[in-house]
């Protein structure tokens, strides 16, 4: 039996109790703290507060090796197998069967065959190079490696993400065999239907907290799970909607846009001053749609027009010069040059305007940044502070300031309030509204369905890379969206 009450920075109070022989599912959006939680259990991170009880005793897990010694194995999402080695070599990587420094290949092969057979893959040869295996089979290798240790708990981080339906079925068979042998499984996913099929109990994470701990799967309605996963702390902070005048011109037109293997046939248009929201669960393709409109991904079908003129496919430069701005999903890795000061980040998209013959006028840049700092109440109000030192909400404001300075007609906002605390969220919402009122056509993507509904004039419900329906935000509520999404995903 394990119990964790962890307080790592990305986690703020998680209760989790796992029983022998059960499949314990952990559900949560991107960034909810799932990965941090499993890394804490796997000995990659150490908790600041709280404790981990293992078999009734308080334990410290300083390293991954220590976790394995206790009997905790982890299968990461990015499969951690070495492509250049054979299956057998991968399975015994780090604990090679050896005598006097020489590997005992035949014994390793024999034990590998045994493990593979136990996992229902007896036909795989231990001598096959792992790089030549499919994702599903690599996962089997990863699992076999876990089993090569004497483990009592195996953590699987979104194991189904890379598998097709048939392979998932096989995976579930393997999981059931493990639990029958008394091994506990922590199964991480954001696919609700899988939890129904394989889970015994469930813990829901949101913003680093457990919003539900150890609920029995069979007795918990899906709706309750989603509510706990998406949360509702954003209620009533939305500024009142301003109706878009009927004669406002269409600024952004997206027609039959598609990205092979991700989404298809996406069409919508946004008028000046209008906010269109994409609602859907993680993995529905919403962020990809935004990035493709922007040209950050090269569309395989369809067109995007701004002010009636088509954008070049796969060209961010073309989108930006047409007046389109993107505030990307991952602020730190996609949005900001973290080491550089605020003003550099603010003028990044429009620096040629602050230059004569290629020579920058830093004073003018600072002035422009200071104006935005004042207008957006960005803190600290010092244009020379490195972007890295700012809070999430203020980093988001840098990105909005960047596009305000550039002067956009279309703003694409992906998760504009992720990692932003509640107070700052209200400010961001107000800003988004003001940007719309100033005539921008805005498209917003958020994991919080409530947020999409609260801000958008028009909502597109997205599931499995398809737009299920388009309707005014006033005509649908969160439950309505979820009903649609679940039907759409099941179909």
């Amino acid at each position: 039996m394990t119990k964790a009450f962890a307080g790592v920075q990305a986690l703020r109070g998680v209760d989790l109790q796992v029983l022998p022989g059960e499949v314990h599912c952990i559900l949560g959006q991107n960034g909810a703290g799932k990965s941090t939680l499993i890394k804490t259990l796997a000995g990659v991170h150490r908790p600041d507060e709280g404790e981990i009880l293992w078999m009734g005793e308080s334990v410290d897990i300083p390293t991954p090796e220590a976790a394995l010694e206790l009997g905790i194995a982890t299968m990461y999402q990015e499969l951690d197998v070495v492509d250049g080695l054979t299956i057998a070599e991968n399975i015994f990587l780090g604990h090679e069967l050896a005598r006097g420094g020489f590997t005992r290949r035949s014994e390793a092969a024999a034990r590998t065959r045994e493990l593979l057979k136990r996992l229902g893959h007896g036909r795989l040869s231990p001598h096959t190079e792992v790089g030549r295996l499919s994702a599903a089979n690599k996962q089997i290798v990863s699992m076999a490696r876990a089993l090569s240790h004497d483990i009592k708990l195996i953590i699987m981080d979104e194991p189904s993400a890379v598998l097709d339906a048939e392979e998932v079925k096989n995976l579930f068979g393997v999981v059931r065999e493990l639990t029958a042998a008394g091994i506990a499984v922590i199964y991480i996913t954001h696919r609700l239907e899988e939890i129904r099929q394989i889970g015994d109990r469930i813990t829901v994470l949101k913003d680093g907290r457990s919003t539900a701990s150890g609920l029995p799967v069979a007795e918990t309605p899906t709706r309750e799970l989603i509510t706990r996963m998406t949360g509702r702390e954003v209620e009533n902070v939305f500024p009142p909607a301003v109706p878009v005048p009927g004669e406002a011109p269409v600024v952004l037109e997206v027609e039959d846009l598609g990205l092979a293997g991700v989404f298809r046939d996406v069409s919508f248009s946004v008028r000046a001053g209008e906010i269109v929201g994409l609602a859907g669960l993680v993995g529905s393709g919403r962020s990809e749609i935004l990035e493709t409109v922007y040209g950050a991904r090269r569309a395989t079908a369809g067109t995007v027009r701004v002010g009636g003129r088509p954008l070049r496919r796969g060209s961010v430069v073309s989108a930006v010069s047409a007046g389109v701005g993107l505030s990307p999903e991952e602020r730190k890795s996609q949005g900001l040059v973290l080491d550089e000061p605020i003003f550099v980040n603010v003028t990044l998209s429009s620096m040629s305007r602050f230059a004569k013959a290629g020579f920058l006028d830093e004073r003018a840049e600072r002035r422009a940044a200071e104006e935005q700092i004042a207008a957006l109440e960005l803190r600290p109000a010092n244009p020379d502070r490195p972007a890295m030192t700012l809070s999430g909400g203020n980093q988001q404001k840098i990105l909005l300031a960047r596009w305000l300075v550039h002067g956009t007609r279309v703003l694409l906002l992906d998760e504009p309030t992720r990692g932003v605390d509640v107070g700052a969220r209200a400010e961001i919402y107000g800003l988004i509204r003001r940007l719309a009122a100033a005539g921008n056509a805005i498209v917003i993507v958020s994991s919080e369905i409530e947020e999409v509904l609260g801000l958008a004039d028009t909502v597109l419900v997205v599931a499995d890379g398809q737009v299920l329906t388009t309707l005014p935000a006033s005509q649908i509520d969160e439950h309505g969206v979820l009903d649609l999404v679940m039907k759409g995903t099941a179909a």
């Binding site: 920075q9 961010v316 730190k332 949005g335 973290l338 080491d339 990044l348």
Partner: protein, 352 residues
């Protein structure tokens, strides 16, 4: 954790575990705060250079401190210095150029081919200069196109150019040394200006040009942005590929300039010119405080890096120590410099 530590390390939420050892961190954070600034890092370089000068003055008091010896140091630093300026820009953008030494050799050979020498005889030696620069620029452009548009890793693309350019130089020169026939060219590059060699002036001009480009232009800003966060730069609407192409073109142009200087100093073109120069340049850039992963670096630091190595080798020569001993010392300096960088460079909060 002490109050001081928290403020010094206030870099927003990081995914790293915070449970690490905090003892003695506040004292180190203060020192790190000073040394991680660009002033601080260059200050460290000034101190290192001064130490070398003091060692030189003590061990070779009669010869080392004279003006003529100082000019010798600068003259020896000049060619590698020009190469290092181009290298600095490439490395700040997160790239690397291994081909500069070979390109120098190739440019020196092409500029001294019989056909070119004939042309120069009939017209003016300036054509020899232009052709050397053209070869450098062209090779750099090829590097840039292969890297930016062909999406070949910079290390491999420029390694290929290193091998191919050297081979082409050997073919063209038929493994002979091609003597520069034009007296005008040789004397132009070996004259003094205000008592200082032309080569040193060229180095100074290129260094100033590089500094201005990096610190005062949109080109420099984009270079830093691409090195600091390539994806953010791309999503901000910067044409990262075209910019990358021009960066390698500039590195190639610097190799072309260095080839002209080499022709002036040795009065001959040969395929062996510039061998291993790329490694000296990278060492000077890194010792100068530029991060190999990109995003941070200075031209001033590189100039100091070049001067440190040139002074070091001068001190060794003054004391009649072998070049092998010198090579060992160089290696030690590089390792120490990188270790210091890792200690004092602020952790970038880049999401993993």
């Amino acid at each position: 954790m002490s109050e001081q530590t928290t403020t010094a390390a206030a870099t927003g939420p990081s995914p790293a575990p915070a449970g690490g050892p905090a003892r003695g961190a506040s004292a180190r954070a203060g020192l790190a705060g000073i040394l991680s600034g660009s002033v601080g890092r260059n200050l460290g370089l000034v101190v290192a250079l001064l130490l070398l000068v003091i060692v030189g003055a003590i061990t070779a008091p009669d010869t080392f401190l004279g003006v003529s010896n100082m000019l010798t140091v600068l003259r020896q630093a000049s060619i590698i210095g020009v190469i290092s300026i181009g290298m600095t820009l490439v490395i700040i953008a997160g790239g690397i150029d291994l081909s500069v030494g070979s390109v120098l050799g190739l440019a020196s050979v092409v500029a001294t081919l019989a056909a070119v020498q004939d042309l120069v005889d009939q017209t003016h030696w300036i054509f020899m200069v232009l052709i050397a620069l053209g070869v450098g620029l062209g090779a750099g452009l090829i590097n840039g196109i292969v890297i930016a548009y062909g999406k070949v890793v910079a290390f491999m693309a420029t390694l290929a150019m290193l091998v191919a350019a050297r081979g082409l130089a050997e073919i063209l020169a038929e493994r002979r040394t091609l003597v520069v026939g034009d007296r005008g060219f040789v004397s132009a590059l070996n004259q003094d200006l205000l008592g200082v060699d032309i080569l040193i002036w060229i180095f100074a001009l290129v260094a100033i040009g590089g500094w201005v480009l990096l610190n005062r232009t949109t080109f420099g800003r984009r270079t830093v942005a691409i090195g600091g966060n390539r994806e953010a730069a791309r999503l901000a609407g910067i044409d990262v590929r075209r910019h990358t192409m021009w960066l390698y073109a500039i590195a190639g142009l610097c190799a072309g300039i260095a080839a002209v200087m080499m022709l002036g100093r040795t009065t001959a073109g040969t395929s062996t010119h510039g061998q291993l120069l790329e490694l000296d340049a990278i060492a000077a850039v890194v010792v100068g405080g530029t991060l190999l992963v990109g995003g941070r670096g200075t031209v001033t630091g590189t100039v100091f890096g070049v001067l440190i190595f040139a002074t070091l080798s001068n001190v060794f020569v003054q004391n009649n120590l072998s070049s092998s001993v010198q090579a060992v010392a160089k290696g030690v300096i590089i390792v120490i410099a990188v270790l210091l960088q890792q200690r004092f460079a602020k952790p970038t909060g880049r999401a993993s």
